[in-house]
């Protein structure tokens, strides 16, 4: 195994050195190949995800296939723009000169994919790495074996197998990989392994991007309008159970709510869960299962603590055979219980009540920095307070969606409005409106960065940020041989010192005076 791995690495390094991965055409071809793969093998992916996690097709499409499709298409559309050198202004003092920054590939990079979104979180960084012109080794998670072997078997059929390689295996393979020298390591997973990855990277001075998790809190301010409450509840459910049964790094971990509003919220929460997952959610095909026995046991143990068990107000049933846990709500479990100190990563939702919603800020600040904070509120002062007084990878107001999907939903909302408009106008498709909507569809180059801070990791990706993560921004300054000032060179004297002082302040007026001898 070790020899094989080293041989693969040598091949990747060789391919990179050959320079072929640097060309825009190679990068685009690979992205197109990836798109074709996703398109051709959609059913195989559905199958693999169902095997590994019992993921429903809609979820699989929304969180995995669709994400990759969107991300690769976006990279294809924007690649020329991303690759173009950016010009930088230089001080007049250096005239004639020009400055620019070009993005160059880092070299051979290693991507660790996780098991919870075994397709999208493995391939999304790969898209960034390819777009930036690197060769890639992808280590697929052994905890999602069907997806891992799908990737290992299919990727070589579609993509340049000398430049993009997939490796499967467990901890031993991971360790062997970490002993090698890489030019970047992109890791998605837990803080514990994140530390191991970074320590190993330190030996070779390899930069790392760590996408970790954390307990993502959801602040729910007291809402008055029933429709707002309903929307909020739906979005919380979407962010908790709708994303791989809570096994998502940006999944809702717990809710902070005012005591007086809690009963109303819990009521509607229960009702909506029933609407979405039926009377017997444990048999619902819309709910992902827990990835494996270990994790199932871990979650089971969280619930076994007697004080925690006593706080269960909804759900709580488990199916050991099928590894399914019902959407479970807990009200005020002890704060020192494991369920409130560790990232839950599963379908359990603790609700913590506060006297005043403002206390949520202190609550969050007294814990490690989460990947995301969600907050449902209409109070703009409170919003500003959350943004400026807490720290997290990102903040989302009034929703829990993973940011990848922003563009998607905006399309949807927009089109819906547009469509109504057209409908009212009697289905007359006006050219201007059509153009307008196309303009709106082009903002895909601008996406929000995604990444953590503190315990939730560092480094960011998505869209252009993915490209940047796998690029070195090389500063280039170019001068000509004209105009060489005597003042740069020794022997030093007072005149030269004065000259430099003015020059540094870009005080061109005094500089001129000095040069023509008017300044002493």
């Amino acid at each position: 195994m070790g020899g094989e791995l080293e041989a693969s690495l040598v091949e990747l390094r060789h391919t990179f050195t050959s320079g072929r991965t640097r060309s825009a055409s190679w990068r685009k071809n690979q992205l197109r190949a990836l798109l074709k793969l996703i398109h051709d093998k959609e059913n195989n992916i559905f199958e693999a995800l169902f095997q590994d996690l019992g993921k429903h097709q809609v979820e699989s499409y929304r969180d995995e296939i669709g994400v990759i499709e969107k991300s690769a298409t976006n990279a294809l559309d924007c690649l020329d723009k991303w690759m173009a050198p950016t010009k930088r202004r230089l001080p007049l003092l250096f005239f004639p000169a020009k400055g620019e920054v070009i993005s160059e590939p880092l070299g051979v990079v290693l991507v660790f994919g996780p098991w919870n979104f075994p397709i999208s979180l493995a391939l999304d960084p790969v898209i960034g790495a390819i777009a930036a012109g690197n060769t890639v080794m992808l280590k697929a998670s052994e905890l999602a074996p069907a997806c891992a072997s799908f990737l290992a078997e299919t990727i070589p059929l579609y993509m340049d197998s000398k430049a993009v390689k997939v490796i499967t295996g467990g901890v031993d393979v991971g360790e062997q990989l970490l002993q090698q020298k890489w030019d970047k390591i992109f890791f998605t997973g837990s803080p514990r392994v994140g530390r191991v990855v970074m320590s190993a990277a330190a030996k070779h001075l390899t930069p790392v991007a760590l996408e970790l998790g954390g307990k993502c809190p959801t602040i729910v301010d007291t809402l008055s309008s029933p429709s707002d409450i309903e929307t909020m509840v739906k979005r919380v459910i979407g962010g908790k159970w709708g994303t791989c049964s809570g096994q998502a790094c940006v999944g809702v971990d717990y809710i902070l709510v005012e005591e007086k509003f809690a009963p109303t919220m819990i009521d509607i929460l229960k009702k909506s869960i029933k609407n979405m997952y039926g009377d017997s959610p444990i048999n619902s095909k819309y709910l992902c299962r827990i990835v494996n026995k270990n994790h199932f046991e871990r979650l089971h143990k969280l619930l076994e603590d007697p004080l925690v068990a006593a706080s269960i107000i909804h759900g709580g049933s488990l199916d050991k055979e099928k590894l399914i846990i019902e959407p479970t709500i807990l009200l005020n479990p002890p704060l020192d219980a494991e369920i409130m100190t560790e990232e839950i990563f599963g379908p359990l939702l603790p609700i913590i009540t506060l006297n005043h919603i403002q206390e949520s800020i202190e609550f969050i600040n007294s814990r490690p920095k989460p990947l995301t904070i969600y907050a449902f509120t209409k109070d703009e002062t409170f919003m500003r307070q959350i943004v400026s007084e807490t720290s997290s990878g990102s903040v989302t107001f009034n929703d829990t969606i993973v940011q990848v999907f922003i563009t998607l939903y905006i399309y949807y909302c927009f089109i819906k409005l547009e469509f109504h408009f057209l409908y009212i106008k009697g289905n007359i498709l006006e050219r201007n409106q059509l153009k307008f909507s196309f303009v709106c569809l082009q903002f895909v180059c601008d996406v929000l960065p995604f990444g953590g801070v503190g315990q939730s990791g560092f480094g960011r990706y998505h869209g252009k940020y993915s490209f940047d993560t796998f690029s070195h921004e090389k500063a280039i300054m170019q001068r000509s041989f004209f105009i060489d000032l005597e003042h740069r060179y020794p022997p030093w004297d007072d005149f030269k010192l004065k000259f430099i002082r003015f020059a540094y302040k870009f005080d061109y007026f005094n500089l001129m005076l000095l040069l023509i001898g008017l300044k002493r």
Partner: protein
């Protein structure tokens, strides 16, 4: 006077006692003052930057003296490369900070819809800056400017190898800056180790790759991001058919006028074609003589070697058997004053010590090649340097250089100047480090870019929620394609997907 010395005395004692426990309580104190939000305010940042500006304005002479003590650095160099550069950096931060701290709206038509996005720069928290001895003033305070501008509390650990500057920094920073949030800790390995055990929100290290690895490994325990400014062998490629005099002067400016070669972006070696090499050597000789006279060991315009260890290291390079015969200019040394004259070596073997380690001193080996294009392969066979330089009039060669040579930064037809340009990111790649700073990049290096998304309660799409149906999957697919016709089609139920 006695009070001052008494205070200094207790400070001495404190220094001696700085261990893990002291470091823990120091960080705790700083974290408390970060948590109370003081450093986040715009006013605090501006006040601190202004008092730093005042500090260097009022103590210029002391700084120059300290640098002379530590390195015999010529006043001119101290003012140009340390004081003036820092002043520029602060002035720029003061001028731009208003723009830097503004949340960046994500420029999309998102804003008009039930959603808007912005990127907010927030301070990381309590950061540690460990600096180097070669530009002990600039390399200590320049990152501090970024850390303050971004609103962090910080500890600065100046290098013990430049002791005069280190204690001056401790004194001045203590006097001028807010000591509840900005501290200087002096010391060597023990103190640094105690500091590295603590949990920081960012570590900024300037120095060498060996310690860089230690810093990063220590940071890994706390998942702390690091910015490493390291060095490397920065090559200079000299093409033929150029204005050789100007080129040579610019090489000298980057090599011996920068702390006698003890700078991380100093030219380390030259690559030139065989037939052009003699001309280069002649020009180097005549220009060096113009600058530093017939006896450069006496010149006041050259820094000394920082200490005896480094002096011995450099002498070892020169005295290696296969190298000692290659000296074509210079080679003189003065052990008592730790001075080494500008030294040029021609055709040194590539497996020599001097060609396998970063020189970081006044020795300049010249390698010769048959064709100038061959130089790129030589550069790429080593580790990635912090900077690479090319002198040429040939556009194609320039293009090839830019696309094939990987280094932190490149300069064509000059050396080291990119350091002074705040619009260019300054930082290494591979062995030369990770992360970049200067200008806005410094601010960014000490900020977390927090994505903030505002949504309204309107515009909720049922397709997001279970029960999942075939229709929802179809709609989702067309939405992903972004084609407006398919979307309208799907909404009307005409979908063919």
């Amino acid at each position: 006077m006695s009070i001052v010395s008494a205070i200094m005395g207790t400070e001495e004692e404190k220094k001696l006692l700085f261990d893990g426990e002291a470091a823990t309580s120091l960080v705790k104190e700083l974290r408390a003052s970060f948590t109370n939000g003081k450093t986040r305010s715009y006013d605090w940042r501006v006040t601190q930057l202004k008092s730093m500006l005042k500090m260097i304005g009022e103590h210029e002479q002391e700084i120059v003296t300290a640098l002379r003590d530590d390195l015999s650095k010529p006043e001119h160099e101290s003012i140009v490369y340390e004081i003036a550069m820092l002043r520029n950096s602060i002035t720029l931060a003061l001028k731009e900070i208003k723009h830097w701290i503004k949340p960046e709206k994500v420029k999309t038509s998102l804003t008009t819809f039930p959603s808007s996005g912005e990127i907010v720069s927030e301070p990381l928290g309590v950061v540690l800056i460990i600096s180097a001895w070669n530009y002990p003033f600039l390399l200590s305070l320049d990152p501090v400017v970024g850390a303050i501008a971004a609103g962090n509390a910080l500890v600065l650990k100046p290098s013990e190898i430049a002791p005069a500057t280190s204690s001056l920094l401790a004194k001045l920073v203590g006097e001028y800056m807010d000591s509840s949030s900005i501290r200087v800790i002096e010391g060597a390995v023990t103190e640094t180790s105690a500091l590295l055990e603590q949990k920081w929100d960012k570590i900024f290290y300037t120095g060498n790759g060996r310690v860089g690895r230690i810093v990063m490994a220590a940071a890994a325990k706390h998942l702390t991001p690091v910015l490493l400014e390291l060095g490397g062998k920065s090559p200079v490629v000299v093409d033929s058919g150029i204005n050789l005099q100007v080129a040579v002067r610019r090489i000298i400016a980057g090599k011996w006028c920068c702390n006698n070669g003890q700078a991380c972006i100093s030219p380390d070696y030259i690559i030139i074609t065989k037939d052009y090499a003699p001309k280069l050597v002649d020009t180097l000789k005549s220009e060096l003589e113009k600058f530093y006279g017939k006896n450069p060991l006496e010149s006041k315009d050259l820094s000394r070697i920082v200490n005896f260890n480094h002096f011995t290291r450099l002498v070892k390079y020169l005295d290696e058997d296969k190298v000692s015969g290659k000296i074509v200019y210079g080679g003189e040394r003065d052990k008592t004053n730790l001075k080494i004259a500008p030294t040029v070596l021609l055709d040194v073997p590539r497996d020599s010590l001097i060609m396998s380690e970063e020189i970081f001193g006044p020795l300049l080996p010249i390698l010769t090649v048959d064709k100038i294009e061959d130089s790129f392969a030589i550069i790429n066979s080593g580790t990635k340097p912090l900077a690479a330089y090319l002198f040429t009039n040939n556009k194609e060669l320039r293009q090839q250089f830019v696309s094939t040579v990987s280094a932190g930064g490149l300069v064509v037809n000059d050396t080291t100047l990119h350091l002074a340009v705040h619009t260019l990111p300054f930082g290494g790649v591979g062995e030369s480090g990770m992360g970049a700073y200067h200008g806005k990049f410094s601010f960014d290096a000490f900020s977390h870019k927090k994505a903030v998304l505002y949504r309204s309660f309107a515009g909720d799409a049922a397709i997001r929620y279970p029960p999942y149906t075939g229709g929802k999957l179809r709609l989702m697919k067309v939405l992903m394609t972004g084609s407006i016709f398919s979307i309208i089609g799907a909404l009307l139920g005409w979908s063919k997907v």
